[in-house]
C-alpha cells in the first residue's frame, strides 16, 4: 500500500530525514514514534505530497507521489497534527466541500456525515462555523472529513491529541475497520501505550533515521514499548 524508499529530506544544513525505508501492507496499522523533531511530521508530509523531498521515492498503491500526485491523493486521507480548517465554513459546508472534491454522491455523503457525526456526537454542532469549535471538535471534524471518501490509506499526525477518551476509543475502532476492509493506517504518536495496543507494526525514528522497525513483538520483545523506546533514545 505504501512504499517509502530511501527518503531523504534536508532543511538547509539540517538533515530532517535520512535514507528512510518503510513498507506498509494492506490491513496494517503502522505506528511511527520518535522524540520531538525526529522527522516524523516531515516523513508524513512527504508521503501525502505536501512537501517536496530531496531523494528517494514514495509509492502509494503503486503510484509515485511525485509523478502521479493526483492518483495518489485520490486514495489517501491526511490529518495533520494541528487541524487548521477553513474557519469561515460551517462543519457541514466543510464536509460537503471535501465530499465534492472526492466526488462522493449526495446519498453516501449524507449517510457518512450522519454516521460519523453521531458517533463523535457533533452532529448538532455541524451547522455552526468552524471558528466556534474547540480543538477537539476540529479534530473530530478532520477525522470525519478524512473518512468521507472511504480512503485506502490514512495518514495521521498525532491523531489522539485533543480527543476525549470516548472519541479516542471510537477512532481506534474506525482504524481497525479500515484495516479489516484491507486499507492501511500510518500514524505518528507520542502515546506509547496506544501505539503498543493498537499497532500491528511500529517504526522508531531518531534524528531522521529509522533505528528500529517491525512487528510489535520484533520491536519490543518481552519489554514494554516505553522501556524499549527510552533505551533506544539513550543509545
Amino acid at each position: 500500500m505504501l512504499q517509502i524508499n530511501h527518503l531523504t529530506k534536508t532543511y538547509g544544513d539540517k538533515i530532517a530525514v535520512k535514507d528512510l525505508n518503510l513498507h506498509i501492507k494492506p490491513g496494517e496499522i503502522y505506528g511511527f514514534i520518535g522524540h520531538n523533531g525526529a522527522g516524523k511530521t516531515t516523513t508524513l508530509r512527504s508521503v501525502v505530497g505536501i512537501q517536496q523531498f530531496d531523494q528517494g521515492e514514495i509509492l502509494i498503491d503503486g503510484h509515485s507521489i511525485q509523478k502521479e500526485p493526483l492518483a495518489c491523493k485520490k486514495i489517501i486521507a491526511y490529518i495533520p497534527d494541528n487541524p487548521d480548517l477553513y474557519e469561515f465554513m460551517t462543519g457541514y459546508k466543510y464536509l460537503n466541500f471535501i465530499a465534492d472534491i472526492y466526488n462522493v454522491d449526495s446519498v453516501l455523503r449524507q449517510e457518512r456525515i450522519k454516521t460519523y457525526g453521531d458517533l463523535f456526537e457533533i452532529t448538532n454542532d455541524l451547522g455552526q462555523p468552524i471558528s466556534t469549535y474547540s480543538h477537539g471538535m476540529k479534530q473530530k471534524l478532520a477525522i470525519i472529513a478524512a473518512w468521507m471518501h472511504n480512503p485506502k490509506l490514512i495518514i495521521m499526525d498525532e491523531p489522539f491529541v485533543g480527543l476525549d477518551p470516548k472519541a479516542s476509543h471510537i477512532l481506534k475502532g474506525m482504524m481497525h475497520e479500515v484495516c479489516e476492509a484491507n486499507g492501511a493506517i500510518f500514524f505518528s504518536t507520542h502515546v506509547l501505550e496506544v501505539a503498543e495496543k493498537l499497532c500491528d507494526k511500529i517504526a522508531i525514528i531518531k534524528e531522521g533515521q529509522l533505528i528500529k522497525q517491525g512487528t510489535m513483538e520484533e520491536v519490543k520483545g518481552d519489554e514494554s514499548l516505553e522501556d524499549v523506546f527510552l533505551e533506544l533514545e539513550e543509545e
Binding site: 493526483l70 494541528n82 460551517t90 459546508k93 460537503n96 454522491d105 455523503r109 462555523p129
Partner: protein
C-alpha cells in the same frame, strides 16, 4: 500592575516599529530608525503639513478678531479626524483584544485592565487630533501675540478636544461592539458602515475647500450667528484664546465626561468582553448535501472566503459598489460628463469610446480579490495541497471569482455608459465586450501573480490583503495600464481608429490570458506544492 498593563498596551501600539510581522521577527536597529522616521514624516510632514496649509488658508479669520471662531472651525476638524481615525481602533482595543481572556483569567483588577486599555485609546485619539491642533496653534501664534493666558487656553483646547475625541470614540466603539455582538452577518454590516464612513469622508473632503472659502468670506456673519445662538460653542473657541470661564467650564465638563465614561465602561466592559457572540446556524435541507462539481466546490470556497472577511471585501472588492454608483451618477450627470469627455477627447475621432473603456478598466482594476487569495490559504494550505485537486483548477476558480465579481458590475457600468453617451451600435458593442476581456485578463493575472508571490506565513490577514506585492502590482499596474491605454490612443492610436486600436489590445489581452492559462497547466502543481 497598572504600570505593567499600560506598558504592554503602549508596546502594542508601537509594535510595528520594533517587530516585522511579515518575517515574524524583531526589526534591526536601522529598520527601527527608518520606521520611526517614516512615521514621523507621515504624521508631521504630510498630515501635519496638510492641516498647516488648511489653517494658513483661514488665518485671516484671526486677523479679523475672530480667533475664537478660527479655533471652533479647526477644533471641529480635529474632532472629526480624531473620531474617524480611532473609532474602529477603540472597538478592537477595548472589546476584541486577543488577550482579554488571558488577562481576565489572571488576578488583575478589572479596573486596571480598563484603564490600561483606555490609555491606549486616548493616546491614539490624541495623536490624530494633535495632527490638526498643533499646526492650528502654531498658525494662530504667527498672527496673534503670545501671552501666558493664551498658552494655557490653547493647551486646554488641545486637552478638551482629545477628551471629546476619546469620549466619542468610546461611545461609538461601544455601539459598534453592541451591534457586532448581536449581528449574524457582521462582515457585510462592517463593510456597509465602512462605506458610509468613506462616503462621509469623501463628501467632506470634496467640499472642504468651498466650505473654508465661504467661512473666510463671511466670517463676521457666521461668527455673530454662532455667538448669539450657540453660546457653548462660542465658549469653546474663547477657551483657546485664554478665556478663564471657557477654560474652567470646559475642563470641568471634560472631567464630568471622564467620570461618566468610566462609570459606563466599568459597568459594561466585562459584559461585552465576555459576551457569547451570535453565530449563524445552517438549516439542514435538501441543499445541505447537494453534490457539486470539483470546480464549483472550489469556486464556492473562494466566494465563502471573500464574504467571510470585511477587510478582504473592503480592500479588494470596493469596485463592486463603486461601479454601479459610478454608472448611476454617470446617467444623472451625463451632460457634465459629456462636456468633460469632449474637452478631453480634443475632437479626436473615437476618443470617447477609448477613454470610456479606459475609465471602466481603471475602476475595474480596483477589484483584485484573486491577488491575495493564494496567500490567504495561510495555515489552511495543507488542505488544498493534500487533496486531489489540480492546481490549475484552483487557480482558475480564484480567477473566476474575481471575474464574476468584477464582470457583472462592469457590464452594468458599460450599459450606463452606452445610455449616457447615446453610443452607436458598434461603439456600444465595443464598450460591452472590451472591458469584459480586460476583466478576464486581470482576473487571470491576479491569480497568477498571487501564486508567484504567495506568502503563507502571515500573522494578520491584512498583510496579504493590503500590503502584499501582488495586490500592489494588480492595483497600480491596472491603473497604469488603463491610463496608458487612453493616453496612447490620443497620441498614436487614433491613426488606427478606435475599433482597430481596441481590437489589437483585445488580441494582446487574449494572448496574455492564454499564456497564463498555459502556465497554470504546466507549472501550477509544482508551484502549489512548493508553497510553505
Amino acid at each position: 500592575m497598572l504600570y505593567i498593563l499600560v506598558k504592554k498596551q503602549l508596546a502594542e501600539i508601537f509594535r510595528s516599529f520594533f517587530y516585522d510581522p511579515k518575517r515574524n521577527k524583531a526589526r534591526t536597529l536601522s529598520s527601527k530608525i527608518i520606521m520611526i522616521v517614516l512615521f514621523a514624516f507621515l504624521m508631521i510632514g504630510i498630515l501635519g503639513g496638510m492641516f498647516f496649509s488648511l489653517a494658513m488658508g483661514i488665518r485671516s479669520i484671526i486677523t479679523l478678531g475672530y480667533g475664537w471662531f478660527y479655533y471652533i472651525v479647526m477644533g471641529l476638524v480635529a474632532l472629526f479626524l480624531g473620531v474617524f481615525g480611532s473609532v474602529f481602533n477603540t472597538y478592537s482595543t477595548l472589546y476584541l483584544a486577543k488577550d482579554n481572556d488571558l488577562l481576565l483569567s489572571m488576578p488583575i483588577p478589572v479596573k486596571d485592565l480598563i484603564v490600561s486599555r483606555l490609555v491606549s485609546v486616548y493616546i491614539m485619539g490624541l495623536m490624530y487630533s494633535a495632527i490638526v491642533c498643533i499646526p492650528s496653534i502654531i498658525v494662530y501664534f504667527t498672527v496673534s501675540a503670545i501671552s501666558f493666558l493664551k498658552i494655557i487656553g490653547c493647551l486646554s483646547w488641545l486637552i478638551v478636544i482629545s477628551i471629546f475625541v476619546f469620549a466619542l470614540s468610546c461611545l461609538l466603539g461601544y455601539v459598534v461592539a453592541q451591534i457586532a455582538a448581536r449581528l449574524k452577518r457582521k462582515n457585510i454590516v462592517t463593510v456597509f458602515i465602512s462605506v458610509i464612513f468613506l462616503a462621509i469622508y469623501y463628501v467632506f473632503y470634496a467640499k472642504a475647500i468651498d466650505m473654508m472659502q465661504e467661512l473666510v468670506k463671511n466670517t463676521v456673519l457666521y461668527g455673530q450667528s454662532v455667538k448669539n445662538s450657540a453660546y457653548p460653542l462660542y465658549l469653546f473657541g474663547t477657551m483657546a484664546e485664554g478665556s478663564i470661564v471657557g477654560v474652567v467650564g470646559y475642563l470641568a465638563l471634560s472631567l464630568l465626561i471622564i467620570y461618566l465614561l468610566w462609570h459606563t465602561l466599568s459597568y459594561s466592559f466585562l459584559k461585552i468582553a465576555t459576551m457569547t457572540k451570535t453565530t449563524t446556524h445552517t438549516k439542514i435541507n435538501n441543499k445541505t448535501f447537494q453534490q457539486h462539481s470539483l470546480f464549483k466546490a472550489l469556486l464556492n470556497k473562494e466566494f465563502g472566503r471573500f464574504m467571510s472577511s470585511a477587510n478582504y471585501m473592503l480592500n479588494c472588492g470596493l469596485a463592486i459598489l463603486f461601479m454601479p454608483i459610478a454608472g448611476i451618477a454617470l446617467i444623472i450627470k451625463s451632460q457634465e460628463v459629456i462636456a468633460v469627455m469632449n474637452a478631453l477627447s480634443q475632437n479626436v475621432q473615437g476618443a470617447i469610446v477609448v477613454l470610456a473603456c479606459s475609465g471602466i478598466c481603471m475602476l475595474a482594476s480596483m477589484n483584485d480579490m484573486a491577488a491575495p487569495s493564494m496567500s490567504l490559504e495561510g495555515k489552511n494550505a495543507w488542505i488544498i495541497q493534500s487533496l486531489p485537486v489540480d492546481a490549475k483548477m484552483l487557480l482558475k476558480a480564484k480567477a473566476c471569482m474575481q471575474y464574476i465579481l468584477t464582470g457583472i458590475p462592469v457590464c452594468f457600468l458599460s450599459i450606463c455608459v452606452m445610455i449616457a453617451f447615446k453610443l452607436s451600435f458598434v461603439s456600444s458593442l465595443i464598450i460591452l465586450i472590451f472591458p469584459q476581456l480586460y476583466c478576464l485578463f486581470t482576473a487571470l493575472f491576479a491569480s497568477w501573480i498571487g501564486m508567484m508571490r504567495a506568502n503563507l506565513q502571515w500573522t494578520n490577514e491584512l498583510y496579504p490583503i493590503k500590503q502584499s506585492l501582488s495586490v500592489t502590482i494588480c492595483l497600480f499596474g491596472g491603473w497604469g495600464v488603463s491610463f496608458a491605454m487612453g493616453l496612447l490612443y490620443m497620441y498614436i492610436g487614433h491613426h488606427l481608429g478606435a475599433g482597430i486600436y481596441l481590437l489589437m489590445i483585445s488580441v494582446l489581452l487574449l494572448l496574455l490570458s492564454y499564456m497564463i492559462i498555459r502556465y497554470f497547466d504546466h507549472h501550477g502543481n509544482e508551484k502549489l506544492m512548493n508553497m510553505h
